[in-house]
């Protein structure tokens, strides 16, 4: 007897937990369906966040109407909105330019949520299967490569960011054409591994996607090299530390590459 349970019950509990681990940690159809169900149930709540600023504005306007300086406040609010609309216009214009410059079929999506945990680097988008999205599609913006889609449901999807160690991209150094594999190092840094140990990589060199692997299109900027050193573990190749071209904390709209 331990904690009020006999040995047999503990064995049953242990088997159930082990079964759960094996069953749910695998990408089975049931686990995927369950995940989609929960995502679909949670998304309306996540999207509610979009309305919070407007609710605040209305409340603020009601208060302002009761005050003597109501007109002044309303005009300031309008000015802020115009500035925000102007900035959004610029961002969308850049995305549009990128769309026109790249011969890629893309879908524009808005970021509606971040990762609920601290152990993975991902974002939730407001577009899903209905917009033509599926798993393993490249995601980018005007600044560079962002990541790839990992789970897609009817109306929303989740993308794994480049800063996550599980998101690996085949890349080349633009100037020297030296190949390697880019993956996440920290929340704000990337590392390019398997670079030839004899290769001379200048600090500040640009790293772009190589197009190998079939997920990420060729030639999309990933970042710039900030440090190059021989891999401490094996000494067989170089590791390049990379400053990402994209500011992952401030993503609002992205392009998902369909083809």
């Amino acid at each position: 007897m331990w904690f009020g349970l006999n040995r047999k019950t503990w064995i049953v509990v242990g088997l159930l937990v082990a079964g759960w681990v094996i069953f749910l940690s695998q990408p089975t159809a049931v686990a995927t369906r369950l995940r989609m169900l929960f995502v679909q149930l949670a998304t309306p709540f996540v999207r509610l966040g979009d309305y919070i600023p407007s609710v605040k504005s209305r409340r603020a306007l009601d208060q302002q109407n009761r005050q003597l300086r109501a007109d002044n406040q309303a005009l300031r609010q309008q000015l802020n909105n115009l500035v925000e609309a102007g900035r959004e216009n610029l961002r969308l214009q850049r995305l549009l330019d990128l769309k026109q410059n790249h011969p890629l079929r893309t879908v524009t999506a808005r970021v509606i949520g971040r990762d609920a945990g601290n152990w993975w680097q991902s974002l939730q988008l407001d577009r899903g299967r209905h917009a033509g999205l599926r798993e393993n599609l490249a995601v980018l913006n005007a600044d560079g490569l962002i990541g790839k889609t990992v789970t897609v449901s009817a109306g929303e999807s989740r993308i794994l960011l480049l800063t996550d160690p599980n998101c690996k991209v085949s890349a080349i150094v633009q100037e020297t054409r030296e190949p390697g594999v880019v993956a996440g190092l920290t929340d704000t840094r990337l590392v390019m591994t398997f670079v030839h140990r004899q290769a001379k990589i200048p600090i500040g060199a640009k790293v772009i996607s190589s197009g190998l692997g079939g997920v990420f299109p060729k030639g999309v900027l990933i970042g710039t090299v900030t440090k190059a050193e021989i891999n401490a573990g094996t000494g067989m190749y170089q590791d390049l530390e990379i400053q990402p071209a994209v500011d992952f904390r401030r993503l609002e709209e992205v392009l998902v590459v369909l083809e």
Partner: protein
């Protein structure tokens, strides 16, 4: 009424968690405090169901494997519920310890799949530490809400 309200609160808090920006290099996790609250407040089946639901919701809103957090939140809630019978849930240190416990086991489960490194260790400590603050506040707010609801009835 209470189960529906609890689920609505759970979904709202989960949505808030994915909306919050990272602070000091880590993201605040609000669900562990809710799980601790449910474990010390609801009957056993309710607490267990709530914890598993919270875990599934957490997993659905991350890029990690589905079911991992649910797997640890459930037993954690059951464990706290059993202890709770012998302890006074009104004591803030107990609330703090239970919130930290849920955050810690949830974090360790996440790290088991995402990998242990210094960055994750820092986040694990920060998330657990933050739960020490979030949990008593959650207890205060939800107990106040429950009291108000009872008064309305």
């Amino acid at each position: 009424m209470i189960p529906i309200l609890s689920i609505l609160i759970l979904f709202t808090v989960a949505a808030l968690q994915v909306r919050l920006p990272a602070v000091l290099g880590f993201r605040l996790e609000l669900l562990p405090a809710l799980v601790a609250y449910a474990a010390l407040t609801f009957p056993r089946a309710g607490a267990l169901g709530f914890a598993v639901l919270a875990g599934f919701l957490h997993d659905a809103l991350t890029a990690g494997p589905f079911g991992v957090t649910a797997m640890v939140y459930g037993p954690a809630a059951w464990f706290i519920h059993r202890l709770g019978g012998a302890l006074d849930r009104e004591i803030p240190p107990l609330q703090i310890v239970t919130g930290m416990f849920v955050a810690l086991v949830g974090g360790i489960a996440g790290c088991l799949f995402a990998g242990f490194n210094l960055g994750h260790l820092y986040k694990l400590l920060m998330v657990t530490g933050a739960s020490a603050v979030i949990t008593p506040v959650t207890f205060f707010v939800l107990d106040f809400g429950r009291y108000q609801l009872r008064t309305l009835r």
